[in-house]
Amino acid sequence: MHIMEGYLPAAHALGWTIAAAPFVVAGTARIRAIIRERPEARLTLAASGAFAFVLSALKIPSVTGSCSHPTGTGLGAIVFGPSVMAVLGLIVLLFQALLLAHGGITTLGANTFSMAIVGPWVAFGIWKLAGKLGMPFAVAVFLAASLGDLATYVFTSLQLAFAYPDPVSGFFGAALKFGGIFAITQVPLSIAEGLLTVVVMEALSGKIRDEDRVSTLAGEGK
């Protein structure tokens, strides 16, 4: 999902940066509030960022014969709400842009928007919806994390199609082409991310009932 340095036209690069900025500001305020009000949640917060750090470092082979990486942003979005991930995801992307030439500074806004904003919001939305539908913990976390991962890649495809519409088939044609590269490759990876998110949330919350896991991790437990 990394759009490489200098690959987005300047206007798009600037536009996505402006669009992402308020989410990052709101996320910073949210993180400060969590640290102040629920000190026991600090470790989970660190683990949420660390989980994204690990998963986005792993380039995993896919059935399409190419490699891609999970995002790891669903966990924090489920526990703390999506806004904190805008900041934690930005940190991951900044590390990769500066030390790995993976992604970039000019594309940081666009990449933050897909990985640290769209993915977490989709994950959070699915998690809430699944809860309303009465789905069990493991199923709800799995769906939230995997669909959030997939949404990030679909959104990257849309961003690229928006910047580089196909001369013949336009935006939709380009979206299908980029989607063919990103989204199909991502399907098995997003399933892996969903499963890993359930495993890690279970391990992080210890031996307790499934219903209590998220509130315990969020530091709201009794």
């Binding site: 014969g65 790995l100 980029f178 098995p188």
Partner: protein, 99 residues
């Protein structure tokens, strides 16, 4: 770890192994998308990375570092959770500590 977790980890392993057995080039999807962008007429990058790892080895070092730092923190948090639920067990049931 619950039985459920073991099965899920097995499934993750299979999701990685099956494509490997199936074979392929396994180039990066990011690079494939970039190649598609480069086909656009008149395309030129307008900004270069500030710093690029000088070799694949250095690049893989930073990727490993990223994964290792993350795993360290996640592992620490899991260990703390384990310790917490153990000390809670003790208080609740007054069971002697397991050796």
């Amino acid at each position: 770890m619950s039985k459920r977790s073991y099965w899920m980890l097995l499934a993750v392993a299979l999701l990685v192994i099956v494509p490997l057995l199936k074979g392929g080039e396994f180039g990066g999807a990011d690079g494939a998308a970039a190649a598609l962008v480069e086909q656009t007429e008149g395309f030129a990058t307008w900004f270069d990375p500030i710093w690029t790892p000088p070799s694949g080895e250095i690049e893989s070092m930073f990727f490993s570092l990223q994964a290792a730092l993350g795993a360290l923190v996640v592992g620490y948090a899991i260990g703390r959770a384990h310790e917490r639920s153990r000390s809670k067990d003790l208080k609740d049931g007054d069971t002697p500590p397991r050796a």
